[in-house]
């Protein structure tokens, strides 16, 4: 008998992946007896690893993540002192992910580079190309001309040359993003005033602040770039994410580049990638805090957040909304809304899960509460069962 034949016998006891693993790793020349012994061992190990039916894995996951969560510090960490880049970690980050929040406190990307660039070629230039350049970085000075009620901008020609942008491009960028203004060019001064004349100083101040944030060049939303040498290659860390535009750039290694924005990953790469991103992001935070949480717990949460084919937070608007039981939904948040909705739709609660059964004081369907007695009740034979019960209760 070959190893393959033996394995075929076990195909019902072991999952495909383990059989495949065995096929690869069992020595080619092995006696049947020995092979069987090894496989038996694997089967035993596999059975041991299986979760017992009726185990409350949901609540165990909740406790396994919740308890270490109480020990997490609320600190936001600094990036190993190299720069001033701040990243939310710890509890705030976990909450951000599990709530399925769309606007992150610190969106961030790890951009990996292709061959010649990852050794550090033109790294400064690449970094600059990625970074979103705002008008305030190109200007030497912003003046408020109180007499004319206008803002005067003096551009730094040296910086313009470095980046390779002309004055006219700057002006067109200003015109494009700020409405209701007049733009004049006077030597190297750009003079901007409101179309509607005003004598309110605060309005001009607001205009000045708005002009500072005008987008001129680079990849949008990439606020800050930082080339870092990690494991012998250059990686660009960014603050702000724009996965779609970054992946399109020719010097970027798209297979490894990541963002910490789960919704962006879902949009660009799909739901499976988003699920993996949730697992990785949460696991990373747990590791950083020195907490030992089994990755399977995180996977279960990530699965729950992604089963619907789109990422949903663990909130009353997210996955809780999808619960079948009215009482379970009502026990989470906004009970009035849930009960009103249910009464309008004539919903039926079948008391199939845990919370509802706690509410009506019945055994919950996990552990000892799940198995039932499989006896066929034939009328008349075990007869009068119901009547007896009634007598007793009275």
């Amino acid at each position: 008998m070959t190893v393959e034949q033996i394995l075929k016998e076990y195909s019902k006891l072991l999952p495909k992946r383990i059989i495949e693993d065995l096929k690869e790793n069992l020595p080619k020349k092995i006696s049947d007896k020995k092979a069987k012994e090894i496989i038996e061992e694997v089967v035993a190990e596999y059975k041991e690893m299986q979760i017992t039916p009726a185990e409350g894995i949901g609540i165990i996951t909740a406790e396994s993540i919740g308890e270490p969560g109480t020990q997490m510090t609320l600190n936001t960490f600094h990036f190993a002192g190299v720069s001033e880049m701040n990243v939310t970690t710890g509890l705030p980050r976990i909450i951000e992910i599990f709530d399925g929040r769309k606007d992150l406190a610190t969106p961030m990307m790890n951009i990996y580079l292709k061959k010649p660039y990852k050794e550090g070629k033109d790294i400064e230039k690449i970094a600059r190309k990625l970074k979103e350049t705002l008008l305030e970085e190109l200007a030497k000075e912003f003046y408020i001309n109180i007499a004319d009620m206008s803002v005067e901008i003096q551009l730094d020609q040296k910086v313009l040359e470095d980046i390779g942008i002309s004055n006219s491009k700057v002006i067109s960028a200003i015109k494009k993003s700020v409405k209701g203004i007049k733009v004049k060019e006077n030597n190297d001064l750009i003079i901007i005033s409101k179309k509607q004349e005003t004598d309110n100083l605060n309005e001009i101040y607001a205009l000045k602040e708005k002009l500072k944030k005008v987008f001129v060049a680079g990849v949008k939303r990439i606020k800050y770039v930082l080339p870092v040498k990690k494991d012998g290659e250059y990686v660009i860390l960014t603050s702000g994410t724009n996965l779609k535009d970054v992946l399109e750039l020719d010097f970027v290694d798209a297979s490894r580049t990541t963002s910490n924005d789960i919704f962006e990953i879902e949009k660009v790469l799909g739901i499976e990638a988003a699920r993996e991103a949730i697992v990785q992001e949460v696991y990373k935070v747990m590791q950083e805090q020195g907490l030992n949480v089994n990755i399977r717990h995180i996977m279960l949460v990530a699965d729950a957040m992604c089963v619907l084919g789109k990422v949903e937070g663990i909130t009353r608007y997210g996955i809780i909304k999808e619960k079948a039981s009215v009482l379970a939904r009502a026990s989470f948040e906004t009970p009035m809304k849930q009960i009103m909705q249910a009464s309008l739709m004539g919903e039926v609660d079948r008391l199939k899960s845990v919370v509802e059964n706690v509410m009506v004081n019945q055994p919950v369907p996990v552990g000892t509460g799940l198995p039932g007695l499989a006896v066929k009740v034939i009328k008349g034979k075990i007869g009068g069962y119901e009547e007896n019960k009634k007598e007793k209760k009275k």
């Binding site: 009960i339 009506v360 019945q362 996990v366 509460g369």
Partner: protein, 601 residues
């Protein structure tokens, strides 16, 4: 580059030379041309100047320094001593100024005169001004982590002492008075400044740093029974019982008296035994749980039209004030007065002597709080070679992780003070050094590190290690077991939900909360969980036709449904009363909660 200027958060203009500008503002302020409340702060990073004159900022005084020399000179100090100069004069002359948190960012403040350089802008008046009043009471504060100082300060605020000198004349809620308060041997300048010796709140005790049979693990302390007999930590707890003769609409009013036997809710003759003819207890009565302190009757709560003609309507309600579950004491004083509305007001002050017991809380002044773990007979306490028996045993494990070095130095300082018969100054940053203390201790005939040979009190054997023994100021905190102990097996339930009442005052149950419930679920012990939650379980007759609550008539032993009539099929279910209540509330909102019954098996 020109900087934007903001006054109280509003943009007011730009200046070309920000640094020059703020210097000028400060100059003007010191000349009293600008108000002394104005603070300026230049944020170089974002190139903005913020001026603040609004209220609600925390500010502190500092000596102005110019060219490395403080403006406050010896001449000024002499003038102050002769009462020729006041604090506000110094501020007007620009010698002392108040900085807020923002302006401090621009300042370079010297700790002492010696470290002044031309770059410095300010000098501390005294390093201790950095600390609050309570924190300044911690001796050797500069040897302890700041976090521990905070804890130590908070602990001192909870310590028992003489909270006010006229306490016998007052009626305060929930107060304690320590019986034999002492001045601390190791004190700080703050103790002198606030007249701490007029109202001390602790006692000097002999402390041995060692473990004792494990009864002082996890921060517990062990106390010598003899010390308690001599008065260590003994205190009196005062609590008032108050009752007012209220007036109600219709000329009805309460009456403070010994209630008649036909009053609704009459307790028992035994409970009223201490009341005098006016319905008030006499001073000196030794009362305990259930005894009535002020007898009172009230008119019935609800009067409807027909009650006027009913015979029972005249029956009054009993509303006396009695001692609650677990309370005891001696009546200290009775005060009969009137309220602003002219109602008779009776206040009875009850006093209870509290000797420290297992579980009472004590602390040193360094955030080293702990609970009494064991009270040991003096015969069983360890003793030193010279025969000293410590009053208190403190666990050495409390020290390393918390790094309260000051605790150990106070122990040493206290020992020197006690032996030399003097007070030791422990003011932060300007103390008698540890080295001096050690030398003095050596000259007093002790080991310079404060350790002594000790013997096991039970066997008489000598301990192999030398034990650190010294004197320390210990405080008794107001958290006492007698006020907190609580347990229940069965007891009162709430009217609305039929669940156990909440809180110690109501003899309530200990709640098995949401998270505790989760642990039952996680273990899969679902029948145990059901049993734990069936305190309010009821058996309800349900009509299978309409799914609503049916009626069971005990007399006729018959069930019927008020909606579907006698013929409807009715079955019994067992649910929690809270669920029945939920259904009732849904019905009241107009939602029809129909129960569909099925056999469970």
């Amino acid at each position: 580059m020109s900087a934007d200027v903001f006054l109280n958060g509003k943009f007011i203009g730009q200046v070309d030379n920000p640094k020059e500008f703020i210097e000028k503002i400060k100059e003007e302020r010191r000349k009293a041309e600008l108000p002394s409340e104005l603070n300026v702060f230049y944020d170089e990073r974002i190139n903005e100047i913020h001026m603040e004159s609004s209220r609600g900022r925390l500010r502190r005084p500092l000596i102005v320094v110019k060219d490395g020399k403080p403006l406050l000179t010896q001449k000024h100090i002499e003038m102050i001593e002769n009462n020729e100069l006041t604090w506000s004069d110094l501020i007007k002359q620009g010698i002392i100024e108040y900085l807020d948190a923002a302006e401090e960012e621009n300042a370079l403040i010297a700790f002492s005169k010696e470290e002044l350089t031309p770059e410095h802008t300010h000098l501390e008046i005294d390093p201790i001004t950095m600390l609050s009043l309570v924190t300044a009471l911690v001796p050797y504060a500069n040897h302890t982590q700041s976090a521990r100082l905070n804890i130590g300060s908070k602990n001192q605020k909870q310590a028992l002492g003489l909270y006010i000198a006229n306490y016998p004349l007052r009626i305060d809620m929930d107060v304690n008075v320590l019986h034999y308060p002492q001045k601390p041997i190791v004190k700080t300048i703050a103790h002198d400044l606030i007249n701490y010796d007029k109202h001390p709140s602790g006692q000097n005790v002999v402390v041995a740093v060692m473990s004792y049979k494990g009864y002082n693990m996890e921060d517990a302390i062990i106390i010598n029974r003899r010390s308690l007999d001599f008065g260590f930590g003994r205190s009196t707890y005062f609590r008032p019982a108050v009752s007012e003769e209220l007036r109600y609409p219709g000329g009805l009013r309460d009456e403070i008296c010994v209630p008649d036997k036909d009053v609704r809710g009459y307790r028992s003759e035994h409970d009223y035994r201490y009341l005098e003819n006016d319905g008030i207890i006499f001073p000196g009565a030794n009362v305990s749980e259930g005894d009535v302190v002020i007898g009172k009757t009230s008119p019935p709560r609800f009067l409807n039209g027909l009650d006027k003609f009913s015979l029972t309507s005249g029956v009054k309600r009993e509303s006396s004030v009695a001692l609650k579950h677990g309370e005891k004491g001696i009546v200290d004083a009775v005060v009969i007065t009137e309220t602003q509305e002219g109602n008779k007001l009776v206040q009875v002050k009850i006093r209870d002597t509290r000797v420290p017991e297992l579980g009472d809380k004590f602390t040193s002044r360094h955030g080293q709080k702990g609970v009494v773990g064991l009270i040991v007979d003096p015969a069983d306490m360890p003793f030193t070679a010279s025969g000293i028996i410590p009053d208190l045993i403190f666990s050495p494990h409390s020290i390393p992780s918390r790094m309260t070095v000051a605790h150990l130095i106070e122990l040493l300082g206290g020992k020197v003070g006690a032996l030399a018969g003097r007070y030791v100054d422990g003011t932060a940053f300007s103390v008698e050094t540890e080295e001096d203390l050690r030398k003095e201790l050596l000259s007093l005939g002790f080991r310079d590190n404060g350790t002594e040979t000790m013997y096991n009190g039970e066997t008489g054997e000598m301990y192999k290690v030398k034990i650190f023994v010294g004197n320390m100021y210990y405080l008794r905190l107001k958290h006492m077991v007698a006020n907190k102990i609580h347990a229940r097996a069965r007891g009162p339930i709430q009217l609305l939900t039929r669940q156990p009442t909440e809180g110690r005052a109501n003899e309530g149950g200990l709640r098995l909360g949401e998270m505790e419930k989760d642990t039952f679920v996680a273990h899969g012990t679902s029948l145990l969980l059901q049993e734990r939650f069936n305190a309010d379980s009821v058996v309800l007759p349900i009509c299978e036709n309409c799914g609503m609550l049916a009626i069971y008539d005990h007399y006729k032993n018959k069930t019927f449904c008020p909606v579907c009539g006698d013929k409807a099929k009715i079955n019994f279910i067992e649910v929690s009363y809270a669920f029945k209540l939920l259904m009732d509330e849904l019905k009241s909102m107009g939602v029809y909660p129909k129960l569909i019954l099925k056999t469970k098996y």
